[in-house]
Symmetry: C2
Subunit: 117 residues, 2 copies
Amino acid sequence: MFVDLNLVPPIEIFPGVRIRTPYGKNLMLSYVEIEEGAVVSTHRHPHEQGGVVLSGRMELTIGDETRTLGPGEMYIIPPDTPHRASAVGGRAVAMDVFSPVREDYAARTEAARTAAP
Amino acid sequence: MFVDLNLVPPIEIFPGVRIRTPYGKNLMLSYVEIEEGAVVSTHRHPHEQGGVVLSGRMELTIGDETRTLGPGEMYIIPPDTPHRASAVGGRAVAMDVFSPVREDYAARTEAARTAAP
């Protein structure tokens, strides 16, 4: 399917951090928008996560390593590995991917769809 | 892990189409560069595939639907669904993701790593 982001309801997972998460059977994409100064706090989950920065600059910590990434730079976060992200010097946008699908985000997406006017 | 694309050996999968495929346990990323006029011929595989265009314009066919996508536009290709891609109006770059990992590309990546000087 072709993803029309306008038809995917956004979920605010942290203040100033909005994701839209279309998904299939094995994988979930996540279009992540992080406002300047906003932070995805350190967390972990059993789902493997990959991603690429689309615009802006994103400071990313995976385990005990921190780097600042720009457009086109990619990462793979192993299952159950603590990670944190923030936008530096302005707004940052990334596309993440989860495998398996994050059922929590899928449920929130479907709930938001149902709630839409 | 942070992906250093310079350390991931490229694989030419069609004339003018080069991929670099870092991978984890459940997912494989694929940094795809398609030269102008080059074509990823229609094919299918049991691996689910997602992706986002990073630069340029990519004409993508999924099943019987064709669209031309620009930067930030995303897609999810269900398992075993025929698809085709080409670069239009210049070079196109995308990041694809496969789940499960494509063992054929993993083997080619490792073989290319071993062969590197």
